[in-house]
Subunit: 377 residues, 2 copies
């Protein structure tokens, strides 16, 4: 609204679907206070989509842009959305329509290439870090001979979200004790050995796993009763690994286990939003507008980390075709050699992203009273 | 520590198990700042147990109390813990040992009789209310032809926790749309009709269900692959209803569904703690100490609601045998006649308990731009 070159701002309902259907919202007519409050409102106010446009769809999209005089197209999302944006830039160039396209990174999956990280991730990471620490205290408090808890996180193809469960771990023996990422093939035998080893030492285990774990044949690890469904981009709809592992543990180790699966709650929990993430989400939007007005086209805004302590970053740009449809896996240096936890290098990477201090909890000394009786048998 | 009649304060590690094993902590030796911070620390710092003492265990418990000069026994928990406390009072009276016993209500299940509600519930309720509202916004944003979300909450025998998912619902069409409590037998046919009806109207459905749902034969509703385990009080270890309902919907309505299962996170999420609940948890502890010093015995502290607007309550006492091992179900007036949602009377009951205002979110007007093209086909 501050840019004199921009005369109208339209929002598309449910992303490109809104453009296809000409379902456009005049964002200048919104109450400025509502627009301001979007920064603290979870989910996507204009809706989202998971839709891969066909070649004729792209022609229609361009037609809508032409008729409405759209010259700047800013599209927020992950690597699928960046492909949609890139295809629009390509078609407009072919058709010699003067359109500039800018991708704005936003995905909790954190799996876009080139950018250090993606807005959205820091908040999902903060939720998972806090939830895992809290849930670990719950497991600590339970005295039984059988206490294993599985926390199943999101993460279709990558373990970024699962790795974040370690970001609030505050001592060697606190939760999480084991972390399994889809970057490594899952072995039930090694998993059972790992769980047994922690259990024998501590009497309890908190294990964080990614919904997208696959075995060494590349098959999803899940309870056999679970149906696999695929969404419109051909991604498998995941779920069921928590159930599978609970059964695996109870059948093989005779230890009782349970699982938590925060599901979509982990990506919309505004009460756990990272202030750093909120600021960066706004920042990449600002940069995108400023760069597009300055003449940039067919690029995505990136974040480059300048230092960790204090945490500093700056923006950059990358060609859309370098990020579209590509996936950034969690790199080897962030995964331990045993493939059952993350490394200190990951903690260094992740901690600045979850923003602000974590809630502080009491730790009692628990000085024991002297025993006066023979042991209880 | 303020009571001159009390010379020592011992905490038992893992409840009565700590007494049995003489595993006692001298709470006067804790840092006062740590004790203060316990008010904002999730879970149970001294641990908890799920252990039903035998008659010989009770004799041992009394022996430990005698040897350590314990004259006041305060025990916090739910209806099982109140039984343990009551049995101790009974045995001490039989043995003519001068012991006073006071039960302190604390259970997220909110299922103790006589007391208006139980400390712990308000915070679990606040988590579920906020998580359901947030998760509903997530579902709102997704444009597909198939969007049903199940949120599976805790609640062994009662629907108090499940009902709380409605406490942040902010419009007729916002989440949750359907709620199923274990107080009513679950019918797959009626469930599918209900889901279809909301889906046909809104194109999306958020359904909150209790992990303890049972069918009309009294059998738990769950995915058939799921093993049932029982803990030491003979309670079934629940889980699996979310998975079951996802499959039920996809097979019968051909609609894609998913489920969230926050699990233990819902009962330890300090970031969602209700300030009202925190204050009341402290209050019932204060009352318990003051009443026991005044000579009361074999009772539990209760909360009585005096008014809703403004919310006011006062403390009371009830004989332990009136609450031990008994379960307060969600009453009929809190469940709608169709057995698929809660009533306004429940909202009136529950809203004061979740404390303080909820986060406010933006609502856009979404004024549409005029269409200039023929419809997209």
């Amino acid at each position: 609204m501050k840019q004199p070159k921009i005369q109208a701002i339209y929002g598309a309902i449910n992303g490109v679907l809104g453009v296809l259907h000409e379902d456009l919202v005049d964002l200048r007519r919104e109450n400025p206070l509502s627009v301001q409050k979007l920064r603290e409102t979870p989910s996507a106010a204009l809706g989202t989509c998971r839709y891969k446009p066909s070649e004729s769809d792209y022609a229609r999209l361009l037609e809508v842009f032409k008729r409405h005089g759209v010259r700047y197209f800013l599209y927020a999302g992950g690597n699928d959305s960046m492909d949609t944006a890139h295809q629009m830039a390509r078609l407009a160039a072919e058709e010699k329509y003067d359109l500039q396209v800018m991708g704005v990174p936003k995905t909790v999956d954190n799996d876009l290439l080139v950018t250090d990280h993606c807005p959205g991730y820091g908040s999902a990471a903060r939720f998972n870090a806090i939830a895992t620490r809290d849930s670990g205290l719950d497991t600590d408090a339970i005295y039984t001979s059988d206490t294993v808890k599985i926390i199943e996180t999101m993460g279709r193809d990558t373990g970024w979200i699962t790795a974040s469960t370690a970001l609030a771990k505050d001592s060697a023996d606190s939760a999480p004790h084991l972390i399994y990422l889809p970057e490594r093939p899952f072995s039930p035998e090694r998993f059972l050995d790992d769980v047994k080893s922690v259990y024998d030492r501590l009497g309890r285990v908190v294990v964080c796993v990614c919904e997208g774990l696959k075995d060494d044949r590349g098959e999803f690890v899940q309870a056999s009763s679970k149906k696999i469904d695929t969404d419109r981009f051909g991604h498998a709809q995941l779920g069921g690994v928590g159930d599978y592992l609970v059964n695996l543990i109870s059948e093989n180790l005779k230890i009782k286990a349970r699982y938590d699966k925060p599901g979509t709650i982990q990506r919309v929990s505004m009460i756990c939003a990272s202030q750093t993430d909120l600021a960066e989400a706004y920042f990449v939007g600002e940069v995108a507008v400023s760069e597009i007005v300055d003449g940039e086209n067919d690029k995505m805004v990136t974040l480059t980390r300048k230092s960790n302590n204090p945490y500093k970053f700056e923006s950059g740009l990358v060609e859309l075709d370098k990020v579209s449809l590509k996936t950034k896996k969690v790199p080897d240096e962030f995964i331990n050699p045993q493939s059952n936890f993350i490394t200190d290098a990951f903690l260094e990477y992740g901690k600045p992203l979850i923003g602000g201090p974590l809630p502080e909890y009491a730790h009692l000394r628990k000085e024991r009273v002297g025993k006066l009786l023979p042991p209880y048998l």
